[in-house]
Symmetry: C2
Subunit: 325 residues, 2 copies
DNA sequence: AGGTCGTATCTAAACGTTTAGAATCGATGT
DNA sequence: ACATCGATTCTAAACGTTTAGATACGACCT
């Protein structure tokens, strides 16, 4: 059915080997005239390189597995797209799997990806999951964790430095005149949330640590139940910040008038909330690039990328398009 | 390196063929005792089925390519996840590619996916792109368009019926007392937007057709520049509705007080906007299931799935958690 | 002329499966 | 005893590529 290298070789009057050399641009040189004939023959016949056959023989499938908790979450969606960009630039295809924050589903997904002979695995680990890279790395597959690595794993982790960003957020709110600055985190301090809590604590600014389950509904409940609304709040994730916004909207609490808010994550959606969220923005593009380089065993230039503060409206700053009261 | 069927066969004291029969559960029967021995041997050795080798021989890679304009857009993100669920249920892995709404990138992506020998292609075509399935289907690959099919293509399309949904939206706004109901669409009526505009027109209710480029910024500009704010508006996509919301927030226009809003798409994010958006919700799960069944050549039960109205706050209805004035 | 080198090409053996066709082996029927 | 049959298993040929080793052929040197 499909056009194979043998067809191209026959047409170009050469052997399969040289066709392969031309297609892969190596590992042996091909005379310019021959190369032209092969290229012409391939074009005429509509040859398409069969990566499956190549994968079987060469051991590289050109596939990279990406495991994310939930690609509908804008933060992971944004990370996923950055990863795809970085992978495409390296000629890899991205196979995605959602773990749904569930360790078992994550393990199943990884198993399926390894069966597909992926060249590597980029994992944002579900919290509470055992180290899923264990079985994977035993097989010799390369694995990189992004954003969150399960406790006890020694596998490479690519994550942003949030310390400076959170400090900047706190400093910024203080400039707006807030003496107390509270922090809203999830029920546990696992993963990057822990770093953010620590960074907030490290500033030494007085304030309370509030907790709410992950998910917007929970965050909404929290704000609704709040007796005295805190004046300034740093929120650990966009997801929760959006929940806080929804709760404030429902309760008629003015943001930033009665509650100043700074979120962490800074996924694209934060630019379009009402009001637009000021956020400690994760350097997703750089994280994606570094992950891919690690995975492919290339040198990784630049150190840990740092999250930076993106100022919009929810902190109290005037923002283009918004009337300053 | 890796454990192969030959290793398992040796250990189980049988031939490679029976190992294959056991692994694939066919196409020939295996005696119960032998099967057990094979399964035990495979477990002891940690055998993992090599899908690349299987793909080369059998012609089925277990991979399905999914091409989306932009996986960061919540609507496509939600569709993507539904597709992944449906594919996983059929034992397929999903390879995603973003086209960035660009015909050229879309063509490149499809080419790469075909090279990976995907078993099929699910495409949400970039508007304005030539029929990208042409070259693909010539190769015998099966292709299904979802949501939007380029004009001139005869390939299978899976899309929702928006007529009843939009009519319900218009009727609902009328019940809220609006005599005029405007409609906000993109610059062209290509794809599903056209159906929605037509459905709005078909209701015969007086109102103006407003236009704005795709993208939230453009929608924001539109509302900001509006002399007299329309009282009731149906918006063609969530993306634009979020833009309208942002513009209203910035301009201090109360939604739904001064402007009642119903969006089309109904991606998960609409539940968490301020105020929560009433929307004509696309039956994404059903669309995903149908797409996959079409792709795999299975019978597709049920006709065209219909979009349905999900009532929240932006239309003027009271909504749980919101004080009714 | 004979040897040596370099370049370009060819031959053929993998890679790990799938799956027809052949082979084996009791059991059954005559 | 012998042919027949069914159930099970084995043998071996693909699938389309990659790539090491063998080969062919001038050019160059002595």
């Amino acid at each position: 059915m499909a056009v194979t290298m043998a067809d191209v070789a026959r047409r170009a009057g050469t052997s399969i080997a040289v066709v392969s050399y031309v297609v892969n641009d190596g590992p042996r040189p091909v005379a310019a005239r021959t190369r032209e004939r092969v290229i012409a023959a391939a074009a005429e016949l509509g040859y398409r390189h069969n990566r499956v056959a190549a994968a079987l023989r060469s051991g590289s499938s050109g596939l990279v597995g990406v495991v994310l908790p939930d690609t509908v979450n804008p933060y992971f969606a944004a990370l996923g797209r950055r990863l795809e960009e970085a992978l495409t630039a390296s000629g890899k295809l991205m196979v995605v799997a959602n773990s749904g924050y569930d360790g078992r589903r994550q393990a199943t997904a990884i198993e399926a990806l390894l069966g597909a002979q992926v060249d590597g695995l980029i994992i944002v680990s579900a919290s509470g999951a055992d180290d899923p890279a264990g079985p994977a790395t035993e097989e010799g597959a390369s694995v990189v964790y992004v954003h969150h690595r399960p406790p006890g794993s020694a596998t490479t982790l690519v994550a942003a430095d949030n310390e400076a960003g959170v400090a900047a957020a706190v400093a910024h709110l203080r400039e707006h005149g807030h003496a107390r600055i509270d922090f809203l985190a999830g029920p546990t301090d696992e993963g990057p949330v822990g770093d953010r809590v620590a960074a907030w604590r490290a500033t030494g600014v007085p304030g309370e640590l509030l907790r709410s389950a992950f998910g917007r509904a929970a965050a909404a409940r929290l704000v609704a139940g709040l007796g005295t609304v805190p004046r300034a709040l740093v929120v650990a994730t966009d997801e929760q910040a959006v929940g806080v916004l929804a709760a404030c909207g429902a309760a008629g609490v003015d943001v930033p008038g009665r509650l100043a808010l700074i979120s962490c994550d800074g996924s694209p959606e934060t630019a379009f909330t009402v009001p637009p969220l000021t956020a400690v923005e994760q350097p997703l593009a750089e994280m994606a690039r570094q992950s891919v380089r690690h995975l492919l065993g290339e040198p990784v230039p630049g150190g840990t990328p740092a999250a930076t503060l993106t100022v919009r409206r929810s902190c109290g700053c005037p923002h283009p398009g918004f009337p300053t009261p």
